[in-house]
């Protein structure tokens, strides 16, 4: 089975701090990581390859330092890595990003399965996967938690997490899946993998290497535009309740009574 996994290098948003004086993001020292959902996508791909044979190619779009993220995927066991990197791709919204990634996938060639993380933790849109499937003209299934592959060429069964439970769906390959969480979580890199990842080549493709319409790339080709960036509102005026645990609890109970959350005490 030929599998392509799309990954993104993201700032670890749980480590982002706000400068209390200027109310702006403090980016210094914020580590770059492989988007956590993408690691689950990669784990799903590696498990399928280990079980059925085939290959796993990891694909990313981003600045040159995204190669680090791809090397981490190689260390986990991916076979090939491709980075789409060019000024022309920069500033893209989800439509332009998915278009560019789709062009990268076409160049990679034949594939059976594309697996993406549900969403990236910096943008949180969950749009690039389904949009890419549309550009490629293949079906997609979001929130996939399990894949049962049959014999060669047979449809696969996919478990999809829904709002009220799980759907079991059947689809012919090729298909694009997005994954929130897979099995026991992503495997750790092994020493052999880390050594190999150091030596392995990451293919870097520029705008000249892929077949694209340059008018729909990057910032220029993005229908959505960022108008304004600002810090979330902070409410001030928290009433601090003094006293020991019992005194404070009693005040809270009174507040809850006033709000008619608990009985009026009659």
């Amino acid at each position: 089975m030929k599998i392509v996994v799309c990954v993104k290098q993201v700032p670890d948003t749980t480590e982002v701090k706000i400068d209390p004086k200027t109310n702006t993001l403090m980016r210094q020292g914020v580590p770059s990581i492989v988007n956590p959902h993408d690691k689950h996508a990669l784990e799903m791909a590696l498990s399928l390859r280990d079980q059925l044979g085939g290959s796993v190619t990891v694909l990313s779009m981003g600045p040159m330092q995204s190669q680090e993220a791809l090397r981490e995927c190689l260390a986990m066991g991916a076979d090939h890595a491709v980075l789409l990197s060019d000024r022309a791709f920069g500033g893209a919204d989800t439509l332009a990003t998915s278009y560019t990634l789709a062009a990268g996938i076409r160049k990679i060639g034949e594939f059976d399965l594309i697996i993406c993380g549900k969403q990236a933790i910096d943008g949180d849109t969950a749009q690039v996967g389904p949009e890419m499937a549309e550009h490629l003209g293949i079906p997609h299934i979001t929130y996939a938690s399990q894949v049962e592959a049959g014999a060669d060429g047979a449809p696969v069964r996919v478990h999809r997490d829904g709002e009220e439970g799980t759907e079991i769906l059947e689809v012919k390959l090729p298909v694009l899946l997005t994954v929130t969480h897979y099995g026991d979580g992503p495997r750790l890199p092994v020493v052999k993998g880390i050594r190999r990842a150091f030596r392995a080549e990451v293919d870097v493709w520029s705008v000249n290497d892929v077949e694209v319409d340059r008018n729909v790339l990057g910032l220029k080709g993005s229908p959505t535009q960022v108008r304004r960036i600002f810090s979330p509102d902070k409410r001030c005026g928290c009433e601090m309740i003094p006293g020991d645990a019992c005194a404070a609890a009693s005040v809270v109970a009174t507040k809850l009574r006033e709000l008619r959350i608990i009985g009026v005490g009659s």
């Binding site: 200027t22 600045p63 439509l95 969950a126 299934i141 979001t142 108008r227 979330p232």
Partner: protein, 395 residues
């Protein structure tokens, strides 16, 4: 965005202000990199007027063509043949947008035998209902729903489409947007009309809720966005309101994905979004066993149990209890945060609550910046005392 290097002093104020880390100082001059999104944060930070904000985008649409798209649509998602809460919330907010634009509000309903919902759609603010009934729409399917929505959009040309950011809404919206080749903004928490341009201003959290971004879709139609459940409040239904039903026929399509069966969750589902009271616990509870106190208080108040991402990641609580940017957005009447420090991504999911009570040992914890009432103390002492108080009060 353009940098005038003659005016640039290389002070670096722009680089510090850039939320995307897209500016570097080279040879004592600012330079932008590929990460630039033209948000303009640098221009307002520059004291030398060396940065000219402005979009690099020149994919201008034909103004006449853009203006031929009219009206606001709300995609009406169903659950067990009933309108989901988020559909009613979006009708209320869509009504405000439509009024401001001086245009119609329409609901779009795909389903099997669902015409009886029309009155509810009108009572909640719609002027028109596009109704597509066919047995093939009895269950959500990405292929069939995308084909139907695309056909409706191409025929009736709405200016704006709002969808709920549910699992299925977030599955359908990007597929439709990519087919139409228009812009889509995910998980909005604020919607208004930009006074300057008359466009919808879509506001959403990014970077795990650390910053807010307002997005416009100037040159493509329809302007599309998804909105999380419970972000907007539904309106009081007006049963006297009426509207026009447009029965639309769509071309039959087959799906490439075959539904085999659905398995309802065995465990009782955690309905955080509809809870009136939520008691949520974080890492400050100390150990997984202490969560019994959170559950006990929640049960006593008839509420639901929430959890921070840290305790879900640590395996103390299942993921469906998670409140925050990557979990659920909630807006209960009362939210009691126990031992939650208030990472910004958690605050993004609960700060719309009517009343927030925070209990935390650390007086400088960010949770107190959004709380109405704060207690600095050990949750393992305060919670038992509170449980005891409430038991006495309700005995």
């Amino acid at each position: 965005m353009k940098i005038n290097s003659e005016l640039c002093s290389g002070c670096g104020a722009c680089a510090a202000a850039c939320p995307f880390g897209a500016l570097v100082i080279k040879g004592n001059k600012a330079e932008k990199t590929d990460a630039c999104t033209d948000c303009g944060a640098c221009a307002s930070a520059c004291s030398f007027e060396a940065i000219q904000a402005g979009s690099g985008s020149d994919n201008g649409g034909d103004a006449h063509d853009l203006n031929s798209y009219k009206g606001v649509w709300v995609y009406l998602e169903l659950k067990d043949r009933q309108l989901r809460g988020v559909a009613l919330e979006l009708l209320a907010q869509g009504r405000k947008l439509a009024d401001e634009m001086g245009q119609e509000l329409a609901g779009v309903l795909l389903g099997d035998n669902v015409a009886d919902l029309a009155n509810e759609v009108f009572a909640n603010g719609a002027d028109r209902l596009y109704l597509v009934e066919d047995p093939c729409y009895g269950r959500y399917d990405a292929d069939q729903y995308t084909a139907a929505m695309t056909e409706l959009i191409n025929t009736y040309r709405p200016a704006v489409i709002l969808l709920g950011a549910t699992h299925n809404g977030r599955d359908l919206a990007p597929r439709v947007a990519a087919r139409i080749k228009t812009g889509l903004t995910a998980d909005c928490t604020g919607l208004s009309i930009d006074t300057e341009t008359g466009l919808v201003a879509w506001t959403r959290p990014a970077f795990g809720g650390n910053i807010m971004a307002t997005i416009l879709c100037p040159n493509h139609r329809p302007q599309m966005g998804t909105v999380r459940p419970r972000v907007f409040k539904r309106a009081e239904p007006d049963c006297g309101r009426t509207g026009t039903i447009v029965r639309a026929k769509t071309k039959a399509t087959t799906s490439r994905v075959k539904w085999i069966k659905s398995i309802k969750s065995l465990k009782e589902s955690v309905n955080l979004e509809d809870a009136e009271i939520i008691v949520a616990g974080g890492r400050g509870m100390g150990k997984p066993e202490s969560f019994a106190l959170v559950s006990e208080l929640a049960e006593l108040l008839g509420g639901a149990v929430g959890a921070s991402r840290a305790v879900v990641d640590a395996g103390w609580m299942p993921a469906d209890h998670q409140v925050g940017q990557t979990g659920k957005t909630v807006a209960p009447r009362v939210y009691i945060a126990c031992g939650i420090s208030g990472a910004i991504q958690h605050l993004a999911g609960m700060q719309g609550s009517d009343v927030i009570v925070a209990i935390n040992r650390d007086a400088s914890a960010p949770i107190f910046t959004v709380a109405h009432y704060g207690i600095v103390g050990d949750v393992n002492e305060v919670l038992p005392a509170l449980i005891n108080e409430i038991r006495c009060a309700t005995a």
